[in-house]
Amino acid sequence: MRTVLFVFTLGAAIAAAPLAGQTPPVKSQGGVAFGTAPVAVARPAQALQPAPAAQPAPAPQRAHAPQSAPALHPAPAPRAPTAAHPAPPAHPAPTAEGELQVPAGWIPEAWAPQDPADSLYRAAREALNRNDYDRAANLFAEIIRRFPQSQYAPDAYYWQAFALYRKGGAQDLRAALDLLERQKSLHPKAATIAENEALATRIRGQLARLGDARAAESLTKSVAESTTACNAEEDAVRVAALNGLLHMNADRAVPILEQVLARRDPCSAPLRRKAVFLISQKVTPRTEDILLGLAQEDPDPEVREQAVFWLSQVGSEKAVDALVQVLRTSTDATIQEKAIFALSQHSSQRASAILREYASRDGVPSRLREHAIFWIGQSGSPEDARFLRDLFSRTADEELKKKILFSLSQMGGRDNERWLLDVALDTKAGLEIRKSALFWASQSGVPFEELAALYDRMPERELKEQLIFVYSQRSERAAFDKLIEIARKDPDRQLREKAIFWIGQSDDPRATEILLELLTNG
């Protein structure tokens, strides 16, 4: 189970890793696109409004931004088992040669104790996992040399090649290629054979970058070998070849990538998802057009989403135009959301202005406007804060208003805090809006004294209830004191009960004592 969980975690990690050194500018904490899944990592403040409802209510949680991340990975596609493990070999009789060089004090767990290479194999794999590539390569070589009939020998070729590939020198890489060739010819049913060609192609790519003409030629041939077969292993090889070629000779690789991306068959979708990533890595005058075409026309949703994401990472005005076109012409709300996010990540003033204009526009779906408001709020700029406050006064849509309250609370700052309190005190505003403003004002960090002073200024019971809830969510001692005061002295029985409820939910060490006191005194 653990590995399964790990893979899920891994997917998230890959998708959300910081994009350090990414060539196109990333406005903030951009996401990494990773083969199948560019994921936008929201800027730091990410919160999902718990409904600022009257209590009892769940404790507020800093939580999620509107999900702007493209899908992470496709569901695992079934792949036929590729290679059966070879039948257990006849084992050579144990000899003195079987003495193993293992770390002192280390007792290997026996997997196949009947196999004389068992402990050696385990020691080799452990060395590999410790990044001790020299030792790992030597131990795997020893298995091949001393125990050629061992059940571990077929995979030892692959892992020795892997260790040498990690060492990375030209000589090591060539030796690794030779091992992989030998594995193919000697052990075509080895468990690792499915990964053999992908690793070999990757190694050729590295050799090509080191100036190895033969490897470069082989790589070019691999890329040229077009196939329409639905085969994940072939795809992996082709992606490795395209990646290698892209780093060696982008002018040759880009047209081939375009050919791959021009395909529309479902079978090639996994390949196209990788190709989108690759095409975005080498910005050419055609990059925006290619990405726009994919965003609009590719039948695979993930390819479309990735295309939009990568448009956000191309820092050109042409990319902004493309995103605007996606936003205006797409009928897919998910893609439109991605375009909004992508615009928010673009560094140009024009992109920001387009986003503000979109958020203001009547006649577009509220959900998209809310999305735009959220991302505007994440910018933190005073201009955007002014815009949101102004939009609040202009719109009659209550949901949009609530989204603006939330966004401004996320922006923080004294101006926004005061404005939120003003909304809370505005008797012309609806009660729900005022309650929401109270909640988000508190969440944005308004000093507690200001919140405490509101209790007597707000005659409406519903607002007082909201304040009690808001106090319960603050960590200051003064907030708990205020709850005690209300529980003891408020003339309104219902409000006292609310305060008692939240005292009961508190972690404050005084809570039990206070509750006992209130119980005793009625």
Partner: protein
């Protein structure tokens, strides 16, 4: 990890992630040494998972992978890289 978790689908998925990991290793993302090392560790672990379903001893192999994850603190490092935030939706 239980034997039942080790399926061809899991291996296929690992293989696909492995391809993606290698693309990232060649991308500017890997210019961050911390991320590069994490990606290298992931590459090795994924290579091991990718062949799990066809190995003759999946339990032994899985134990080896678990051990590697533990020893290298891979999960902790992943969590350090992944910012707190929304769960990523899949398709």
């Amino acid at each position: 990890m239980r034997t039942g978790d080790i399926t061809p689908e899991l291996s296929a998925w690992a293989a696909e992630l492995l391809t993606g990991t290698r693309l990232l290793l060649d991308s500017p993302a890997a210019q961050d040494p911390r991320l590069e090392q994490l990606l290298l560790d992931l590459e090795l672990i994924l290579a091991q998972i990718a062949r799990l379903s066809s190995t003759g001893d999946p339990d032994g192999e899985a134990a080896m992978i678990d051990e590697a994850l533990e020893n290298r603190g891979t999960l902790t490092r992943i969590r350090a890289v992944v910012p707190a935030g929304p769960p990523v939706t899949g398709t």
